[in-house]
Subunit: 440 residues, 2 copies
């Protein structure tokens, strides 16, 4: 178990700046749109959507494409040990840590075209447009394609950004286990596609000044407000658990009901309790996986693993849900005579992004955006433990995500990329003003 | 779906006979015991028990051993298309269809040393002892190692005996799908280990006169009565279903609880209902498998398959349980907005073995046995649709089966083999008397 801790920071006063370059900045919405759809071809069969799991053959192909694009733009390109692709671009003063834009090109199984790719390709579009418009920032810029954000193939998620933030290690990330219960690991599979590099892994090796990320909203606040974009002020809390129940083998037909130690029946009880818990405590709960053994048509199930997550907007609510379900797991096991192992794999309390970074995005949104919050974790929820971080939300149809039905309109994607570019220019201006002593 | 039908037969009066050879017949309990434990080495790692799944490398090794043993005894040896090993031994009159003894050398995962192997090795011991004691029956004898009785690796179970009984076909058995959700089939895997042969597959090609099988009881009636053996009068009814729920993909963290179409939550509700149904209707129910998709730590589960079986001693009870659960599945799906596909894969109503075959076993048991019934299906529940069939039960410690804890004492196994041999001799005598017009 590792817990994501929030770095302690103090902001003396509300600092923000508007870059004079931001008002003139443009991006090419057609190019962005075409690249989102063109790169979606690197996918396992997934009608209408994308299934590009971390370190699979399609992930290799989209990574190779990314490398070509950033090298063509003149990047100093590196891959680190967890496969993260880092494309560094000169600023006027390369002694300043770069301002990062990043997200992920991996997707979940039966995912959409936007969750992840929009953040990377949108940032690429910003860099292309800056080059075309001869806009050079004072600080260097860096574009990062973070590895295994989704945790879809290898658990835990935020697989590389959590290492960067010092919440995990390269060794632990390499050992991340396959969610299909096979013996594959993330390190082994990254090596197979040639994406274990010698680039920097930790913040201390490669500090950045800030981190900005475009993402589809995955909720309906923007849609209801009729706004294409939003500035993301923070995230709801979330916790991932896994529990393994251990019971007894037995014959499915002949063993009387009394005296059974059936782990699948126990797991089903847990899953129904989890669903009720969301309603009882005004949070969300999802059971995301189950693995039950032994296989066969005539066995009582003697070992079952259940993976689930709890979500709540309030820290106390999240903590309360965790305590409630831990108690229920113990009582389900107790009443059924089972042993169990319970682990809290990830714990991310609710929190806020940095107000100075949020201000840069808010200013870039103007009247096209509203304030919003995210319901889930992102690479930005890792970088924010180290440096000013904020996110740009793009309106998503019906709030659907992690589904082939995920959709954002071309114009909204373009607006998101424009806001990202302006926010980065604003943040560069802020750093400049701070260096000149204009902000604390 | 295929339903196992009971053949219609009429017995004009209760026919039985006691063979004069039976009282002198002996078996070698040490040799039987040693072979049970020696052959248990052909197993995947399975401390204390046996995991020898149909057509795996261990199944190949125990099959090769079986072939050597029966050829050394002088058998006319054949393998049929579904991998069943058939060892034919001459009688005094080879124009009579042979009397069969059979069971299975495959086991479930994390199974025991007795369920299956005792039936085959016990019958082998009968043949060895008959040869040593120069006992020759009038009818030929045949020893059969039936393929995939357990259905542990490939579904459905009774994989070869159901073909023999005309309830399925070689093609359907070859197409039996892997229970681990891989694309492997029984036909493909049998071919890999070299066990697709040209021997007879169907009753009509290779009729037998009767079928006798030793099996561990898998219940506690013999133990409670203090008896080492039992004659099996019939079986409880059982039905296997599989249901696949189809819902929607969605984000595990951000999607509100309302409007979800979560197939794993629906499946959990079904499994808890199934458990209650057993108590409500005085039957047994077991959920034997679950497969849920997509894999990953951040997805609402959009497709879940649940495999379960219902058991009841009464035909009406079994039918009632089936109707009840079919209704509940429809209402669970309806209230959650899910689509579903429900199949009843196997339906075996409760029934009785043939009284003339039971009488041969009962007479062989003498005062060492009691009447019993089995809670599950066996290869004998297939042959009984065609010819007089009965089973010999051997006392099992605590009734535990499909578990490494499965245990029967050496003396009880020996008693079981002795009863099998005597029962076959009695049946041979019965056939002789019938041929002489002494029975209808």
């Amino acid at each position: 178990m590792f817990a994501f801790r929030r770095a302690v920071y103090v902001i003396a006063r509300r600092s923000y700046a508007t870059s004079p370059l931001a008002s003139k900045f443009k991006i090419n919405g057609d190019r962005l749109w075409n690249d989102i759809h063109e790169t979606a071809k690197w996918s396992a069969p997934s009608p209408g959507g994308v299934t590009r799991l971390c370190a699979d053959e399609n992930d290799k192909m989209v990574r190779d494409w990314f490398r070509e694009q950033v090298i063509a733009l003149g990047a100093d390109y590196k891959v680190n040990a967890t496969g993260t692709q880092i494309a560094l671009f000169d600023g006027d003063d390369n002694s300043i840590p770069p301002i990062a834009m990043g997200s992920h090109l991996d997707t979940v199984a039966t995912g959409g075209k936007f969750d992840g790719p929009l953040g990377v390709i949108g940032a690429l579009e910003v860099l292309r447009s800056m080059k075309e418009q001869s806009i050079k920032t004072r600080a260097p810029l860096v574009l990062i394609n973070w590895t295994n954000e989704e945790g879809a193939r290898f658990f835990p998620l935020l697989g590389s950004s959590c290492v960067y933030a010092g919440q995990s290690t390269v060794e632990a990330a390499h050992a991340s286990i396959s969610t299909d219960n096979s013996s594959l690991t993330m390190g082994g599979e990254l090596a197979k596609i040639g994406y274990v590099g010698d680039g920097p892994n930790y913040f201390d090796e490669f500090p950045i000044s800030g981190h900005f990320e475009i993402h589809v909203e995955q909720h309906t606040d923007l849609e209801k407000a009729g706004k294409p974009v939003g500035w993301v002020e923070g995230w709801q809390g979330m916790t991932w658990y896994n529990v393994v129940f251990h019971g007894d083998d037995g014959h499915a037909n002949t063993k009387p009901m009394w005296g059974r130690r059936d782990t699948l029946a126990a797991s089903a009880e847990l899953i129904t309790v989890l669903e009720k818990l969301a309603y009882e405590m005004n949070g969300y709960t999802t059971t995301t996986g189950i693995h039950s053994h032994p296989f066969g048509s005539c066995n009582i199930q003697s070992k079952t693993k259940v993976i689930f997550c709890l979500m709540h907007k309030e820290a106390e609510g999240l903590e309360g849900m965790g305590k409630a379900i831990e108690n229920r797991i113990a009582s389900i096991a107790g009443q059924r005579g089972l042993e169990f192992e319970l682990e809290r794999d990830i714990h991310l309390p609710p929190g806020d992004f940095w107000s100075e970074a949020i201000a840069c995005v808010r200013d870039a949104c103007g009247d096209k955006g509203i304030a919003s919050r995210t319901g889930t974790g992102h690479d930005s929820t890792m970088t924010t433990t180290k440096v000013p971080t904020a996110m740009v939300f793009v309106r998503a149809k019906d709030g659907i995500s992690h589904s082939p039905k995920e959709w954002s309109d071309k114009e909204d994607c373009a607006e998101g990329a424009l806001v990202l570019g302006k926010a980065v220019l604003n943040f560069d201006e802020l750093l400049k003003q701070k260096a000149a002593g204009l902000h604390v």
